[in-house]
Amino acid sequence: MHSIQTTALNKRFRHIHAVRDVNLSIDKGSVYALMGPNGAGKTTLIKLLMNLISPTDGRISVLGADVTHVEGKGLEKIGYVSENQKLPNWMTGAMLLAYCRPFYPSWDRSLEQRLVTRFDLPLKRRLKQLSRGMRMKAALACALAFRPSLIVLDEPLSGLDPLVRDDLMESLRELAPEATVLLSSHDLAEIESFASHVGFMDGGRLLLSETMSGVRSRFRKVIATCGEPIEMNAPQPREWIDFAVEGRVARWVETAYDSERSPARAREILGPIELSSDSLTLREVFLSMARTKSPEGAGGTNQ
């Protein structure tokens, strides 16, 4: 069962093709981290999923219904927080919570209280008087207190200090254990420990979309050492990205690593070599892919 599914999704803004042929599926209960450099199309994709803008073409299904139902009653099960969102800054924290409460039949007062305590929210101060981190916490409290089925967070951590980031992520993990979470962030270290799935976007395309464990096993940093200067016997395979040769040493990132087939193929191409491979952090995967920007190199968008 997918909480979110898109088919051949496209969004153009006059001359800018912000989202290109995105086929995305996010399983119910998963924590999906959407990565990508600035301008990759992450925020546009999230706005499409939240029905804030309309797609140029393609189909979107959110919580089993067409995206056009993501309005009014359809938003009673979706919590959304974005760094760009304009909060009603004239309200105090308490007013914001009190104002949001009647909109959600599933609002949990005890959870609200726990969130307030956990985030140490100053309820009597106006939002405009709060720091950015505190405002994000207030928004997150409003997005979590009704126990949403889907939580969509667009760059919720950007610009926040590490302490606040930890606090937010920890709260999310604890307080919304059953919800599907879609999260776009640059904070790869935080995502790595938190996400169950990861997607990588660049230039409007979804270059990669799969489970975190799949990424960890598939992406390997490979170092080949040869007795003589390395000469290629065959063209570089698509699965090798970020490939570099320095004398007798070749380094690359294998995007479809297989412990049996990958060393054999490397020897076919590079001759007699000694191979060592190591797993990559999410940050290293992100950087390799950002440098390569090839959907083929990413190995498709398998779940």
Binding site: K47, M50, L52, I53, E71, G72, K73, G74, L75, E76, I78, Y80, S82, N84, Q85, K86, L87, P88, W90, Y99, C100, P102, F103, Y104
Partner: protein, 524 residues
């Protein structure tokens, strides 16, 4: 409904200071309207009205843009608002916070003017609120739905102002002037286009938030305005507004003999010749009043010479008691000079409204205050001790006036000095009348709900009008205690008809203006 009230409560709280300021400005405006000469200095009087209506607009824009419909970053857009509920909450806010204080101010103004407040005023008061909602609040709100902030809204208003300035620079004077009924038809046509377009904009924005298409629809609706103004001057609209009728159905019009107040005249001033033609109307029914909205004069002379005026706005009226009037028009002086030798004959085409007067009702005026038909209340004012008079805005009426009201006084019961020179009383048989035209609507589009009537009875009319009477030019003033005879008139329709006036004059009628004016006089 719970959510609607929840949003409403939030808006009340958020805009409480603006609301308090608006209510204060509304009270100040009402005080100023009730006491136009006694409350604030002349300059501040404008300021009070500007402040009141400025805050009216401000409050509406602020409350609409509290949940802005432009952009995709608004907090409310990702919350489970139902668009219908949100729209309803905003409408309720406008009704409770804008219309209600305004309604209370209007009721107080009516009471202050001495008009008894009763249930029969309710439909008119509601109609007036609807008018202000439709013509004032609604366009302001529509613009607020397609702009993101107050500044953007202000810029859009400035843009509309510049647009209207540019429109005013267009050579509208080259078009024939539109006549009253033609303007009314075009106003209805404009409303029939603009109102649905504006409703679409609001619904589209609340339901779908498609800003640019909504803005285009708004701009398209605004562009309808100059087209409709243009349309009002066209012969087609004039034909629809004033369909041709049999000229003898209601009156016969002929050239009249010169009298002291109506005489045939040709005054040449510079390049322009101004011609006055006295006419006399014989109405087919003594219960009719004819109100001329416009006319044009056709001249034809020897050797096939002809010329005609454009349509001219002309406010003349005919009734049984005042059958005489003067038709005035201008023509190029060289043409007028040429015409003198050609024995010109005139035909006049009138575009007019016909009102049929009902039976007369006589009202006693012995009290300090007395009532007439249609809720009209009059009050005698005592300028000097012992001398009551009724001049200026002596009478008031609530909300609107009937289509025509004739108030008549007769000298039969005359007891007071008309000239102020201790002259003997006017002989019986003289009459004077005042005709007041109104919209006939439940309420006029005026924030002040009190209709003020300046009673001006004109000169006394002698028993036999054609006989010259030394008292003819004596201005008629009613005296306290004289009975007023009131007849209500109802619109029987607008029409046009042509009347042949015959030969209009010759060379001897020409008078050279001894003091030509430094500018030309337009006939309209």
């Amino acid at each position: 409904m719970k959510i609607v009230l929840h949003i409403l409560r939030k808006d009340f709280f958020r805009h409480r200071w603006e609301l308090a300021l608006f209510v204060l400005s509304c009270a100040a405006w009402a005080c100023q309207v009730a006491n136009p000469f006694g409350w604030v200095w002349l300059r501040e009087r404008e300021f009070v009205s500007v402040l009141f209506f400025g805050l009216w607009f401000f409050l509406i824009v602020r409350v609409i843009q509290g949940e802005s419909l432009v952009g995709d970053r608004e907090f409310w857009m990702t919350r489970p608002y139902r668009w219908g509920g949100l729209l309803f909450a905003k409408m309720l806010f406008v009704i409770l916070c804008v219309n209600l204080p305004f309604l209370i101010a209007q009721i107080l103004l009516l009471a202050h003017a001495g008009i008894p407040i009763s249930g029969h005023l309710i439909p008119g008061l509601i109609f007036l609120q609807l008018e202000f909602t439709f013509f004032l609040s609604f366009p302001v709100a529509v613009l607020a739905t397609i702009t993101e902030s107050l500044v953007q809204w202000g810029l859009a208003v400035a843009g509309l102002f510049v647009f209207s300035l540019m429109l005013s620079w267009l050579p509208w004077s080259k078009l024939p002037p539109p006549l009253e009924r033609g303007e009314n038809i075009c106003s209805i046509l404009a409303m029939a286009i603009i109102a649905p377009a504006f409703i679409c904009v609001v619904l589209w924005q609340y339901a779908r938030r498609r800003v640019w298409p909504a803005r285009l629809v708004f701009a398209g609706a605004v562009l309808v305005v100059p087209l409709v103004i243009l349309l009002a001057s066209t012969p087609l609209i004039r034909l629809i507004a004033y369909p041709p009728s049999n000229s003898k159905s209601y009156l016969q019009l002929s050239m009249a003999e010169d009298t002291q107040s109506h005489e045939r005249n040709y005054l040449r001033s510079g390049d322009e010749g101004n011609i006055s033609l006295p006419v006399e109307a014989k109405l087919t029914d003594s219960d009719l009043i004819l109100d001329v909205d416009g006319l044009r004069v056709f001249l034809a002379g020897d050797n096939g010479w002809s010329w005609h005026t454009p349509w001219l706005n002309n406010s003349i009226g005919f009734s049984k008691d005042s059958p005489n009037a003067t038709i005035e028009f201008a023509m190029p002086a060289d043409l007028a000079d040429q015409m003198k030798h050609l024995h010109p004959k005139a035909t006049v085409e009138l575009a007019f409204g016909v009102y049929r007067l009902g039976p007369p009702h006589v009202f006693a005026t012995t009290g300090e205050r007395f009532g007439l038909s249609a809720g009209i209340i009059c009050r005698w004012a005592e300028r000097v001790p012992g001398y009551a008079f009724l001049r200026g805005s002596g009478c008031v009426a609530p909300l609107s006036l009937p289509e025509a009201t004739e108030i008549r006084i007769d000298s039969g019961s005359n007891t007071c000095d008309q000239s102020g020179k201790n002259e003997p009383p006017l002989p019986a048989g003289h009459s004077a009348r005042h005709v007041e035209y109104g919209s006939g609507m439940p309420a006029d589009f005026d924030p002040d709900p009190v209709r003020k009537i300046s009673l001006d009875f004109g000169d006394w009319t002698p028993p036999i009008p054609s006989v010259q009477d030394p008292k003819t030019n004596l201005h008629a003033f009613p005296c306290k205690g004289w009975p007023f005879s009131v007849r209500m008139g109802f619109d029987e329709g607008k029409m046009r008809a042509e009347f042949n006036l015959g030969e209009i004059g010759n060379e001897k009628d020409v008078v050279e203006d001894p003091h030509p004016l430094p500018f030309s006089i337009r006939a309209d």
